[in-house]
């Protein structure tokens, strides 16, 4: 009953592990979707590249001191706008900040926004999708209409409007500012995941093992969390991982436009924005190039991870 394995969407033809006959030749089939996916994942070099990158980036976000001992907020105007040298590997900004130190410290904001927003949309969107799909009826209609409305406003425009109207307080600690950004992205980002979850639930709900559990008298929460959720969650996990990169990009784009996170918070978007005025691009391109590389590699790492998970879970796309 509590076996979380089995079919996620009808395309995945592996039967739930419990139903499979014991016996020599059929042991292949006894693997659950997740262990099957894990076997696939382990063989994929892109997965390992992305894992290594993400571990390095996470370390950077948690403990930037391991990578640099320079204070990213210490501006020495005497060395302003210098190209990369032995002392400042990535050069200095026009305020005399060390670009390398800023790039390392900038990881925290981006990673926090990406990870927290993904978790937030999975929780909110997943829950709403589960409820819509499981209960159906007027509740489903209502939640779907509300979702359509939030879905109708593109994320970037929603971000621009909200942060213009309610700018984060510069006095607040970084985590509070990040949470404001996360809150807005979750508010406008949940509907796509809810829609996905609802579709998956509708495909899982009519299955025999759900009916059997219902016939045995399982309560609604038990049906949802023990039988439906484990079998319907796969597509959402894939999309949420792929979206993580998008959220990092949206946060950086907002910072680039001068809203959302703002200086003195340190973020790649802010630094790229400062570096991209035409005079500076000409005089100090290193200010632009290094944060851009870090931002791109971070997004790339999460998209590769999402791609690898999708290929492992959905054999159709191989």
């Amino acid at each position: 009953m509590t076996d979380p394995s089995g079919v996620a969407v009808s395309e995945f033809s592996t039967p739930p592990a419990g139903e499979v006959r014991e016996g020599g030749q059929d042991r292949q089939e006894a693997r659950s979707l997740w262990s099957d996916a894990w076997r696939e994942l382990r063989r994929n070099p892109l997965f390992w590249i992305s894992v290594v990158l993400i571990v390095v980036l996470l370390t950077m976000a948690v403990a930037p001191q391991l990578f640099t001992s320079t204070d990213p907020r210490y501006g020495d105007l005497a060395v302003a706008r210098q190209p990369p040298s032995a002392e400042h590997v990535f050069g200095t900004t026009s305020q005399g900040y060390d670009v390398y130190a800023r790039v390392i410290h900038g990881a925290r904001a981006s990673i926090l926004v990406g990870v927290l927003t993904s978790i937030g949309t999975v929780v909110v969107g997943g829950l709403i999708g589960l409820i819509s799909g499981f209960y159906g009826g007027w509740l489903d209609a209502l939640l779907s209409r509300v979702g359509e409305i939030f879905f109708a406003i593109p994320l970037l425009l929603a971000g621009i409007l909200t942060f213009y109207l309610f700018p984060p307080d510069l006095e607040d600690p970084l985590i509070l500012q990040v949470l404001t950004v996360v809150g807005v992205l979750v508010l406008f980002g949940w509907p796509s995941l809810a829609r996905l979850m609802r579709g998956a639930v509708l495909q899982v709900k009519p299955n025999d093992y759900v009916n059997a559990a219902r016939a045995l008298g399982a309560s609604a929460p038990r049906l949802i969390f023990q039988h439906i959720l484990p079998n319907a969650v796969a597509p959402m996990i894939v999309v949420a991982t792929l979206n993580l990169g998008t959220y990092i990009a949206v946060e950086a784009t907002l910072a680039f436009l001068g809203i959302g996170l703002r200086s003195p918070a340190i973020s790649w978007g802010i630094d790229i924005s400062l570096a991209s005025s035409i005079g500076l691009v000409r005089a100090a391109p290193h200010m632009l190039i290094f944060p851009s590389i870090f931002l791109t590699v971070t997004i790339l790492a999460f998209i590769m991870l999402g791609d690898a998970i999708r290929d492992a879970i959905d054999p159709k796309l191989k």
Binding site: R145, V146, E148, I149, F150, A152, I153, P154, L156, L157, I160, L161, T162, Y164, L165, F166, G245, A249, A252, T253, F256, L257, G258, I259, I272, S273, A275, S276, I278, V281, R282, P285, L288, I289, S292, L295, T296, V297, I299, L300, I303, M304, D307, K316, L317
Partner: protein
């Protein structure tokens, strides 16, 4: 078909009302509606009095919304703090942004679809890896980074393209247009590749091959026509989304379009410009989606017969 179009139109009405109400509620329902309307300073008393009267702030919220919508529908998007009519400014700036979006969409359609088809036909070979890896890389670079870097390389270092496109001619807008379409071009290549691969394995293609049709017919007609639908739909949705995305591109290349206007509004802290432009862009996005959905019914008859 007719009932499908009608149903789609009717479904759109609550979404438009809901989305405009959401924007309205954010501006007038929560917090101070006059905040951020007068630049860095606090608003002068005379402005506040006029502002309250203009947006009927003494009425109940729902009446305010009705009057606000009536204004929007008659094309009144308010006046900026410096006295510019937002609607007039938007109308004057449309042609530039549309030109930019057209360049981006053409780029997406031609390069994205072609790359996707080639990759699918050469699956597992060098060309496939080239397309897959380069599209992965391009998807990962945010548009503002592509913009700033290509301005540095092609505009400043190599001098092939103008560094800024303030004039807004077709050639000036070429580089910004390519930048704007860069994300979608990679996305479409991936989308096209995976649908092509899926369809190449489908039963009707196998049947066509079994009937003895040549590769030109099985690939060119049977597979391609069916595989185009998702890509074309995406391009349609993107036309609406690009208008919003143009704010970044237009800020980098200093283009006097809608996006540039939005950035000007953010930068000078002129709330009427920001709210008006965002509302207008959301409406354009929704109408573009509606149009695509209706077209989708024409392209794929399975949709309109459910």
């Amino acid at each position: 078909m007719g009932s499908y179009v009608l149903r789609r139109l009717l479904q759109m009405i609550p979404v438009i009302i809901g989305a405009t109400f959401l924007i309205f509620a954010m501006v007038f329902g929560i917090g101070d509606p006059a905040a951020g309307r007068c630049g860095e300073r606090a608003c002068p008393e005379a402005f506040l009095v006029q502002f309250r009267q203009e947006y009927n702030l003494d009425e109940p919220l729902i009446v305010q919304y009705g009057l606000y919508m009536a204004k929007l529908l008659t094309g009144d998007f308010g006046e900026s703090f410096s006295g510019l009519s937002v609607a007039e400014e938007l109308i004057n700036r449309w042609p530039t942004t549309i030109r930019l979006a057209v360049i981006a969409v053409c780029f997406e359609a031609l390069v994205g679809i072609a790359a996707g088809i080639l990759a699918a036909l050469r699956k597992g070979r060098f060309l496939d890896y080239l397309v897959t890896l380069s599209s992965l890389l391009v998807i990962s670079i945010p548009v503002f980074v592509v913009g700033s870097l290509s301005q540095l390389v092609f505009g400043i270092r190599l001098g092939i393209f103008p560094v800024t496109a303030t004039e807004g001619g077709w050639f000036d807008l070429l580089l910004p247009g390519l930048v704007l379409g860069s994300f979608s071009v990679a996305y479409i290549a991936r989308l096209m590749r995976s649908t092509m691969i899926e369809n190449l394995r489908s039963d009707y293609v196998r049947t066509a091959r079994a009937k003895g049709l040549g590769p030109g017919r099985t690939v060119g007609v049977h597979t391609l026509r069916n595989s185009m639908i998702p890509a074309i739909t995406y391009i349609g949705y993107d036309l609406g989304a690009l208008m919003g995305g143009a704010v970044v591109t237009e800020r980098i290349f200093n283009i006097n379009g809608i996006g540039g206007f939005l950035f000007y509004g953010i930068n000078t802290k002129d709330g009427t410009i920001v709210v008006g432009t965002v509302t207008c862009l959301v409406l354009v996005y929704l109408l573009a989606n509606l149009l695509v959905d209706v077209l989708y019914g024409v392209l794929d008859p399975r949709i309109s017969h459910d």
